[in-house]
Subunit: 241 residues, 2 copies
Amino acid sequence: MNRLRPFIRTLERRDRLSPDELALLSSAQLRVQGFRRGQEIVRAKTQPGESRLMVQGISGREMVTAEGKRQISALHVAGDFVDLHSFVLKRMDHAVVALTEVTAIFVPHAEIRRIIDASPHLGRLFWLMTTIDGAIQRAWIACLGRSTAMQHMAHLFCELWTRMEIVGLVSGHSFPFRLTQAELADVVGLSAVHVNRTLQELRGLGVVDWNGEQVEIIDFDRLVALGDFDKTYLNLTQEPR
Amino acid sequence: MNRLRPFIRTLERRDRLSPDELALLSSAQLRVQGFRRGQEIVRAKTQPGESRLMVQGISGREMVTAEGKRQISALHVAGDFVDLHSFVLKRMDHAVVALTEVTAIFVPHAEIRRIIDASPHLGRLFWLMTTIDGAIQRAWIACLGRSTAMQHMAHLFCELWTRMEIVGLVSGHSFPFRLTQAELADVVGLSAVHVNRTLQELRGLGVVDWNGEQVEIIDFDRLVALGDFDKTYLNLTQEPR
DNA sequence: GCTGGGGATTTACCTATGTTAGTGGATGGC
DNA sequence: GCCATCCACTAACATAGGTAAATCCCCAGC
């Protein structure tokens, strides 16, 4: 399946896939669906019967506090499952919303079950993808807890570039990022005003620029240093798993 | 195995286990090891050949920034695997340190492999435990990003009580928590001074008390309200997975 | 060409939390 | 009994980041 291409690329950066495994993946019964900006891809507290795989656009896990504040606890790009964990977790503890126009594939849990029963190795790779998800969350926790606004945003831009590169979404040191500053604020746990201030500072330093459409990394080395970014946690090495 | 009791309780709160599955788990080749306060249970960047399961004490995932600041991104109590994800991830993106005296079981990855090959259902339950781990991390992200010191600490105490209750570590509304305030500060991403201030505030409100040994929840309902705590994310329902 | 709306940006002010530098109490080694 | 530690706690001050309310800018619709 053409639509599975990005997902297969994320897998192949972590392990080798046999022709049989590729065929097995391609045999899955899928439904494609589009979402508009702001639309919910998965509702919180529901018990989904399928997991959704991003094909295009950016979505995020959304959690809303009692006071109505929003925190986005993950961003998803093409090739990412937004809720593969719902396969074992059964019940969503968060929502997933489209932050841009999004195209997603719906993979029934029955299909996932069929695939992992037929190939325990693919089963472990599915498991792997949820644990990489966890590793990313740990990195975000460290950023939220122990770094300044600038360091945090620098780290985030490094991470996004690296993840987008895997699925061929970057061109040079730029990648598409069509969110509003207020949305980015909900990602990094800051106010929109402070995100604005910090972006100007980063721009002023000549490190990154972002016009609301594209993030352009001007000085990658300095961005990495600023964000204390070490991509180890993304597990981008082909190993038998 | 007696030592596996807490782990089996965490599993049984999420799904039913057959006698065969219990026997399979008990058949695992294990090594028990003790750790002193402050000792590393797993080193960062290593490629462990086994995963460690907590039997006693409290440990935490530790990440250190370039400036030497420390963030603890997870706490583990009896029954929790500290690094089950290393089974598929292969390389640690963080360390795990003993925050109290700790007893842990070392489970070779070969044994985990043997168990999940023999029982795909147990395999899914192992997978489940890593995704619950992820759900907890999401809750922490929301706390770090969008709540005040008091709300965050209230949430943490609710979570810890709930998790300890599963494995029989609570007595009434109290549970053992022998960390220093500075260590707690690294958990909630605050300074030790502010943790101290906030604890006094919580004490003053008559909601929780903590003398460095035991956390005593005085008014559980208010603590839950303060922390906006909803235990759904801990997935404490027995369901076929 | 006018209008309305959604963002980006700015300004002024506010506050939660951090930092530094203590004090004092408990504990353990010798 | 003295000393060194470690840790809770305090106090005074500093600051990163939040809040509220404008203003500006762009663009779509008419």
